[in-house]
């Protein structure tokens, strides 16, 4: 159990590092791939928990995450990027070094919040993974605000959802399977609707910059 906890903590730390690396990214394709790797590690965390705690229903959650978030959504998004012929870099609103430091600060905030959930005597994964999950959540929110284009905002939303998944796994060994299925299906549909909408936005406004959408007024 000690070994399993170490492995899970290690992978959670890697997930956190990937989330911070996402904040510093300038290329959308790299963003998508890092999201895929991050989701892969999350699926591995779920599988490790299922192995060490003899809870086979989590394997289903891990498998679903693997199929939807590691394979389907990244392939769909990359095809979208190729079809829209996006060649520009991601230009965040707050510059990259400052946003990386802000994400570090948000991680600290996540750790502090998770401290209050820390009950050493209770069995379960403990507060490390919850800290990482809250940090993922906060950094995902921050990244979503920090981007101008719709596609990158939805990518940040997806990583936010990754944080939710990790929080659920770490606190209660996963949500009921029906809820998992619902959430994953939501993610898939959101990515597809995004694909259609972003294309339409680009066609109408010649840019994915969401601040242009305000020009409908007046």
């Amino acid at each position: 159990m000690q070994f399993g906890e170490r492995i899970v903590t290690l992978m959670a730390a890697l997930v956190l590092v990937l989330q911070i690396a996402v904040v510093a990214q300038r290329w959308i394709v790299t963003h998508i791939r890092i999201f895929a790797i991050q989701s892969f590690f999350l699926a591995m965390i779920a599988a490790t928990i299922a192995w060490f705690n003899h809870a086979p229903h989590i394997y289903a959650a891990a498998g679903l995450t693997l199929v939807v978030k590691v394979i389907l959504v990244p392939i769909f998004l990359e095809r979208l990027v190729v079809r829209m012929d996006i060649r520009e870099e991601i230009k965040p609103i707050v510059n990259v070094p400052l946003s990386v430091v802000i994400s570090g600060g948000l991680t600290l905030l996540g750790y502090l919040v998770a401290e209050s959930f820390h009950k050493p005597d209770e069995p379960g994964l403990g507060h490390n993974e919850l800290a990482v999950a809250i940090s993922l959540f906060l950094i995902g929110f921050f990244t979503m605000i920090n981007r101008r284009k719709a596609l990158t905002q939805v990518l940040a939303l997806l990583s936010l959802e990754n944080g939710l998944f990790l929080a659920a796994i770490s606190l209660t060994y996963g949500m009921p399977l029906i809820v998992e299925l619902g959430i994953l299906f939501d993610v898939l549909v959101a990515a597809m609707v995004l694909g259609i909408l972003v294309y339409r936005i680009r066609e109408t406004f010649e840019s994915m910059d969401v601040s242009r959408l305000r020009r409908l007024r007046g």
Binding site: R6, I7, T9, L10, A12, A13, L16, V17, I20, A21, A24, V96, P97, L98, V100, V101, S103, G104, T107, L108, Y111, E115, N128, A131
Partner: protein, 313 residues
């Protein structure tokens, strides 16, 4: 007491002799990876000996700083190198300083090098100095945070204690704090030794130089001292990285047969790290200068996360 002298002498000899070898090994590995043959592993030795025999040309506008800098840089780097555990866990000058002393000695060398770049009055020297200072202003906090992380784990900033605390705990490296600190220190290593994502050490275009622009006016024995000091600094930082996090093979003392085993382990670990550096250099292109603060901001955040992780994880 005499043992200390012998240890100092042995580590001094190791530093002086091994540094050009590491530089040569990195160049040869990189060449081989690019399907070239490379200039040969012992070429840096030949370069240094050649430069010592050559005459010097000193600009007229240079002051005493220009003449003093090679000596200051050389001796401060050697002094820093004597304070790190290389073969034995017990660094020869470990009583005189620990991690902070090493950082500040290397900083002293860099300070004088930047001043000498400005001293000659040429524009490329000033360019190199300002770039070097920008990079080091961002890299030093990251290095300090990473070192403090391992120091907290060991309970002291003495490098002997840091290396000693990590011996015997194989899984310790897998703790998130150690991994973050390792990643931060690795990024800082690339920035401080001027390797490819940050600075191209083999460039001959002055506008892309950072370290070489500062030493552009040096020639003859001064250039030999400065280049040797740069290789020794690279060796010191690499040894710091590997011995703080993976002190496998560190012997208790320098004496006895164990010293040879220790040297063997050191060479093996340096080879491994050199391969990693070469891989990183070959896969990446040199970053544009205004992107370097982004990389160092990531290093800084990783370092602060590492420090926080020791308390909260």
């Amino acid at each position: 007491m005499t043992e200390r002298f012998i240890e100092c002498g042995a580590q001094l000899f190791l530093l002086l002799a091994l540094a050009p070898l590491v530089t040569g090994a990195i160049r040869t590995l990189k060449a081989r990876l690019q399907t070239r043959r490379g200039p040969g592993i012992i070429q840096p030795y030949k370069d240094i000996f050649k430069l010592f025999r050559k005459g010097m040309v000193i600009p007229e506008t240079a002051s005493w700083i220009f003449a003093a800098t090679p000596w200051v840089v050389f001796f401060s780097t050697i002094l820093a190198g004597l304070m790190i555990p290389m073969v034995a866990a017990d660094a020869p000058l470990g009583l005189f300083g620990g991690a902070l002393a090493v950082i500040y000695l290397l900083g002293l060398g860099r300070f004088f090098l930047a001043l000498s770049g400005l001293d000659t009055g040429g524009s490329f020297g000033g360019l190199g100095s300002s770039r070097e200072m920008t990079i080091s202003a961002l890299a030093e906090p990251a290095m300090m945070l990473a070192i403090f992380t391992v120091a907290i784990g060991a309970g002291s900033t003495g490098l002997t204690e840091i290396a000693g605390a990590a011996i015997g705990q194989t899984w310790r490296f897998l703790a998130p704090a150690q991994m973050f600190a390792f990643a931060a220190l690795a990024l800082v290593l690339i920035a401080e030794t001027g390797r490819i994502p940050v600075d191209n050490p083999a460039t001959h275009l002055e506008l892309t130089m950072i370290h070489e622009a500062m030493i552009l006016e040096y020639s003859g024995p001064y250039l030999a001292l400065v280049e040797w000091a740069a290789s020794i600094k690279q060796l010191v930082l690499m040894t710091l990285l590997i011995n703080c996090f993976w002190p496998v093979g560190l012997q208790p003392t320098w004496f006895g047969f164990g010293a040879l085993i220790g040297i063997g382990w050191l060479l093996a670990k340096l080879l491994l790290l050199s391969c990693a550096i070469v891989l990183l250099e070959t896969v990446n292109a040199k970053m544009r200068l205004f992107r370097v603060p982004e990389l160092l901001a990531v290093a800084f955040t990783l370092g602060s996360l590492a420090l926080v992780s020791t308390f909260l994880f």
